[in-house]
């Protein structure tokens, strides 16, 4: 120790940590694919004050927002196997619950978590699109579904995009907590590599850089997308 940085280890571990990137990306993409539509629909139930679903969404959001992700991980990772075990036992299914790939638990936690964030994101964004446009769409003969798909959602997305970007970046960073359930993602891979030689500083530097690169890239892509979707919002003349 304390002979300065071990550059060879730094570079080797960088590539070891990189092998964790696909898992992190997979979890991010799948969680978003679940959370985007679900969050939008639940946001609508809140705006339209739909019975039961509205209350459910509100309680759900406050539960998820009011607890640390790491605690949610511990709860899901420890309670779901117990639950599964009792179900398997009851129905005589021959399967070891502890063989379940931790990626499934990660998907549950991060989908639930991102959904809660996006409910609030969409709730505020939908409110910015005037109700009059929905009425106008109805008056020219569009159904509610058509009006949402063609008029409301495109405008909602533009407003929501900066916050969706934020949620995505937070999600990517949060996948690092997956190490708590032995998920073979970036942080765990680097940490395992460092365990042998105690080169923790180098390992942490590596994952620091990797997250920074991924998140910067994601932010750049969102900026491009926003610019494209925003083309109708030119400075008003009136």
């Amino acid at each position: 120790m304390s002979n300065g940085l071990d550059f060879e280890f730094l570079i080797d571990t960088f590539f070891v940590a990189l092998t964790g990137v696909p898992v992190a990306i997979l979890i991010t993409v799948v969680s978003l694919a679940i959370a985007l539509p679900l969050g939008f629909i639940l946001a609508l139930t809140r705006i339209n004050k739909m019975l039961v679903l509205n209350q459910f969404s509100r309680v759900y959001v406050s539960f998820v927002r009011g607890t640390p992700v790491i605690v949610q991980i511990f709860i899901i990772y420890n309670s779901v196997p117990l639950l599964l075990a009792s179900i398997f036992e009851k129905y005589n299914i021959q399967m070891d619950v502890y063989d379940v790939n931790p990626i499934w638990y990660a998907l549950i936690v991060f989908s639930l978590n991102t959904t809660a964030t996006l409910i609030e994101v969409f709730r505020s964004a939908i409110n910015t699109v005037s109700k009059g446009q929905l009425e106008a769409a109805h008056s020219v003969g569009l159904t509610t579904v058509q009006a949402f798909r063609r008029i409301i959602v495109p405008q909602t997305l533009v407003v929501a995009l900066p916050n969706i970007c934020n949620a995505t970046v937070n999600l990517i960073k949060a996948t690092s907590l997956g190490y708590a359930m032995s998920l073979p993602e970036i942080t765990l891979k680097a940490q395992v590599a460092a365990n042998a030689s105690y080169n923790y500083i180098e390992a942490y530097l590596d994952i620091f850089i990797i997250y920074l690169i991924i998140c910067s890239l994601v932010e750049y892509l969102f900026k491009r997308l926003e610019k494209r979707l925003r083309k109708y919002q030119i400075a008003p003349t009136a």
């Binding site: 699109v129 005037s130 009059g132 446009q133 009425e135 106008a136 769409a137 109805h138 008056s139 020219v140 003969g141 569009l142 159904t143 058509q146 063609r150 008029i151 495109p154 405008q155 533009v158 109708y232 919002q233 030119i234 400075a235 008003p236 003349t237 009136a238």
Partner: protein, 251 residues
């Protein structure tokens, strides 16, 4: 052509429409006047099912619809025969002027894009926006936006166009261009039901004026008679307030 019978509508304890009957013939231009809160806008919105009436019937040519219990299918069929021009234009902000007009034709009426574009361009030409096909609502002035709104209604070729205070949100200097367009399409024989505060439009263009107050029709008649010899005391009071010229001469 369109007959409305006994419309009632309340919001909570507030009775907004208290039994309105209305008959409109093809080619009629009917102007609805009245103080704010008299139920003019709600009447229009109930006809187009933007608001659900508590009670009432609409007879459209040979189809009769219960305004309270109308099925989705009936609502769509009525909306196909009517068009609405909104006070705040309500253009689709993510669509160009031409797309605003063609949206209902392509999606609602299942026209091909070519057909719809032709009709849409004709409609925009008619309201004097032949250079603004590809402009987004954000790039247009209020008057231009409302003219797109009118083109959107005209292009649907409806039996009747419902105008809900089409000039109330406009700067005074932009009111003229919109009224001019409305006059033009009225002259072409378009059936119109217009809620407005523009007395000059009512005088010059309408063939019938209706005065509403407190959710009922107080008085109706041809514009000449209505403005010069109002029968009801409430109408006289209203006209005195909105037609200040008489006052100026009386001082």
């Amino acid at each position: 052509m369109l007959e409305i019978k006994n419309i009632h509508k309340s919001f909570g304890d507030n009775i907004v429409l208290n039994g309105i009957d209305l008959k409109i013939e093809k080619g009629d231009v009917v102007v609805v006047l009245g103080p704010s809160g008299s139920g003019k806008t709600t009447l229009l919105r109930c006809i187009n099912f933007l608001e659900k009436a508590d009670q009432g019937q609409a007879i459209f040519g040979d189809t009769q619809v219960d305004l309270k219990k109308a099925s989705k299918k009936q609502i769509y069929s009525i909306r196909k025969r009517t068009a609405f021009v909104f006070q705040n234009y309500n253009l689709f902000n993510n669509k160009t002027a031409l797309e605003n007009v063609t949206e209902g034709l392509i999606i609602g009426r299942k026209m091909t894009k070519e057909e719809a574009n032709k009709i849409g361009k004709d409609a925009l030409d008619k309201v004097g926006l032949f250079e603004k096909y590809d402009a987004y609502p954000g790039e247009l002035s209020g008057g231009q936006q409302q003219r797109v709104g009118i083109a959107r209604a005209v292009s649907l070729n409806p039996d009747i166009i419902l105008f809900d205070e089409p000039t109330s949100a406009l700067d005074p200097e932009l009111v003229g261009e919109v009224l001019e367009v409305m006059k033009t399409i009225a002259k072409e024989g378009t059936t119109m039901l217009v809620v407005t505060h523009e007395m000059s439009f009512a005088k010059d263009v309408a063939n019938r004026v209706i005065f509403m107050d407190g959710g009922v029709i107080v008085e109706e008649g041809p514009p000449n008679e209505f403005f010069q010899h109002p029968k009801e005391e409430r109408t006289q009071r209203f006209l005195k307030r909105v037609l200040p010229e008489d006052y100026i001469y009386n001082i």
